[in-house]
Each structure stands twice: as C-alpha cells, then as structure tokens.
Amino acid sequence: MEPSLSEFTIMFSIATMGMVVLALAIVFFVLFYQRKMLEAKLQQQKLEVENQEKMLLATLESQENERQRLSRDLHDSIGLMLSTIRVIVHARQEQQGNTATDQLKTMIDDTIDSVRRISRDLMPPSLQRFGFCQAVRDMCNQYASLSQVRVELNQTGLEVDQDKSREIMLFRIVQELVNNALKHSNSPVIRVSIHWKEMLVISVEDEGVGFNVHEKKNNGSGLGLFNMQNRAKILGATFEYENQRERGTLATVCVPIFI
C-alpha cells in the first residue's frame, strides 16, 4: 500500500534531518580535531623553544664557568709561577748585576702583565666583587688607557643588585659592544650609558663608520652579534641597533630588572 502524503512527508523529513545531522556531526568533528591537533603542535613547538632556551642558557653558563676557571688558573697557577721566577731572577740580578738579567726581568714583567690582563678579561674580578657597574667602569678605564680612543661612561639612577649570572651576561653584552666599536668603528670616542629606571637601559654609541646589521647576519660573519642577541633573549631584554644615523652606530639594550 502506498504511503499517504503526510506519512511520506514525515518519513522524508526524518531521513533528511538524519542526513543533515550526520553532516553537521562530521563538520564539527573536523573542526574539533583540527583545533586539538594544532594545539598539540603549538604545545610541542613551545616545548622545543623552551628546551632550546635551556640548552642555550646551559651553554652560556658553562662558557662562563670555564672562563672563570681559566682566569683563576692563569692567575693562581701561571701568574704565581711567573712571580716566583721574577723573584729568583731579581735575587740573581742583585748578586750578579748584568744587563741580560735586566732584559729577562723586563720580559717576565711583560708576561706577568699579559697573564693578568688575559685573566682579567676572561673574568673581571670587580664583576664578582663589586657588581656590573663597577666592572663596566673598570673596563672603560682599561680600554681608554690602552688605546687612543676616548671611552666615556655615564651612569644615572640607583643601581639594583641583580643575580650574578644576569650581571655576567649584561657585562658580556657591553664588553662585546665596546670591543666591536673599538675594532671596527674607527671612532675617536665611544660613549657607554647605563640608566637605571623601571628598566635598565644600556647604550653604546660611537661616531665611526657604522655598519649594516642585516648584511652581517646574512653573510654569517655576525657571530658576536648572534651571541649578544642570544644573551639578550635569555635576559628577556630587547636589543636594537640604530645605524641609520649621520655618523656611527647606537646600540641599545633594554633589560627588565628582577630583584
């Protein structure tokens, strides 16, 4: 017996609704699944980035530990032996009093100075004892005395003591910036500024020839730049180069202060 129109309409409606609901379920499943997979992928990427940052921090820390050890060994071991040799040579000179011994003493003095300088550059003692600002001040004075370049330091605001590992990283950034300016800028003056406000703002400015940051990054010769940016990243700092100036370069690092 053929179904009536109303019976047929009901059957048709139920069947059609069933198909539409099935289609809806499929669409929602696809959306839900895709969202879940993307979240999982993002989470994995986040973990990878965190892992990389941890590895980077571990590498930098081990680098600093190694420098500290080398500095200590140079000073305590080789420095001490050289000082002992100098004492013996001095005693011999007083006994024999010849010019060859004078030359020997001078060479030993020069070697002791070199060893002390290398030891100091590897790990400045003032950084360990007196903190970041004093270490930068000593570095500026040392560079000014050793080269023909005027290295000026301007510090404003009240210094806030930071974690030692952070201070070392900050110091390395400033050290690298000043070294780069000395080596490449041909500038008669280098100005280092340290401003303690809500954030620590460090700038290193020169009046030299300037350089192209992107060119350095692209041709792979910017290893120092890469290290500075990594250190800045670990400190949570922003790092900017301003070289679209009339003369020279200005590098600015803004570091959050953690007490």
Partner: protein, 219 residues
C-alpha cells in the same frame, strides 16, 4: 500562497543564489584561487541553465525542460569534480577525483541507455553520492594535512561544508524523485520548493567562501 506559488518563488530564490555566487566569485577573476574561479563558472552555468528552463516554461510549454535539468546535473558534477581536482596537490586525492568522475560519466551514460524510466533518480542520486564521497575524502585530507591557518577562514572548508550539507540534505529527494513524480504529481512541488530553498542556502555558503577569497585590500 499555495504549493505551486511557493515552488515558483523558490525557483527565483535559487536563481538569485546563483547570482550571489557569481557576484562573490567573479570580480578580480585573475587574482582568485582556482577553486573560486571554477565556482564562478559554476554560477554562470547555473544562471544560464535556469534561463533555458525559464524559456522552456514560458515559450515552449515545458518542452525539453527535463533534458535541460539532466544536462545541468552532469555539468554540475563535472565542475565540482574539477574544483576538487584543483583543491589539493595530493596525488592520491586527485586520482580519486578522476576515477570517481569517470565512473559517474559511465553511470550517467548507462542510466539513459538502460534505465530510462529511472534515469532521473539514478543520475541525481549518483551525483549526490559522488559529491558526498569527494566532500568526505576532502575532510579526511584536511585532517591529515592540517593547514596552519584557521579552518574557518579557509575558502575550501566552506565549499566542502556547503557540498556536504546540500547533497546529504537532498539525497533522499534525489533517490525518490522518479517515484515522487509518478505518485505525488503536483504535490511534488512542496518537496521541490524545500529543495530550492536548501539550494539557496547552499549558494549563500558558497558565496561566503568566494568572499573569503576576495583580495584583502578590496574587501
């Protein structure tokens, strides 16, 4: 309004749906993605065939109206097949599209050669099955490939949603249309009106996908 008036109104509504797709997909044609270009061609084809049907109704007293409809069904399947062929670079998916379209062409031919009395249902049901198969396979491909972007702003996602909703919603109508024509006669008008309204919403979703593909500067 009686069933016939509702049916006539729904006919013009579905026609306007095709116009909306054309408006959304045809401007800035050269800069659009290939699936959207094909959608634009589909809209033009739909408008043209609707025009032919209207001429047949008004001028030639419905002569050939079924043939026009059947020809459009075939072209629709081909155009959507072409759309899915250009939707991905996946070789497996493209092979599936080619195989299923080829099978559909064979079924279409056989329907008219050997099953003339049921050809109307057969070609529409097989078209619906083809579309549903392609839509489901494309969703599976989306799950596997997981495009980075938000799926809701991905034009092919919305084309696929439109296809899966429309062809699943009208599947039973396509399956039973020969029976409905012979048994219900003019009472079929109500069902066909429902199908036309459903098609209008299908066109709106397709037009939305075209709008998503609109050049960002011009949107």
């Amino acid at each position: 309004m009686d069933a016939l008036e509702i049916f006539n109104f729904s006919r013009y509504l579905q026609w306007s749906g095709s116009v909306i797709i054309a408006v959304a997909c045809l401007p800035h044609f050269k800069t659009r993605g290939t699936p959207i270009k094909i959608l634009g061609v589909y809209a033009i084809t739909s408008i043209v065939f609707s025009l032919f049907q209207e001429i047949s109704v008004q001028v030639f007293a419905n002569v050939g109206i079924n043939n026009i409809g059947n020809a459009f069904v075939f072209l629709e399947a081909l155009l959507f097949g072409l759309l899915y062929l250009n939707a991905t670079k996946s070789r497996k998916f493209r092979n599936l599209v080619v195989v299923t379209i080829s099978l559909y062409c064979i079924v279409y031919l056989f329907a008219f050669l050997f099953f003339e009395h049921r050809s109307y249902s057969l070609i529409r049901t097989s078209r619906d099955l083809l579309m549903l198969l392609l839509a489901l396979t494309y969703f599976y491909y989306l799950i596997q490939k997981l495009p980075e972007e938000n799926l809701l702003r991905f034009p092919m996602f919305w084309i696929n949603v439109a296809v899966i909703f429309f062809f699943s919603g009208t599947f039973f109508l396509s399956f039973m249309v020969d029976y409905l024509v012979s048994v219900l006669k003019n009472d079929l008008a109500g069902f066909w009106a429902f199908r036309n309204v459903f098609r209008f919403s299908f066109c709106l979703v397709l037009a939305y996908s075209g709008w998503l593909d609109w050049p960002a500067k011009e949107r």
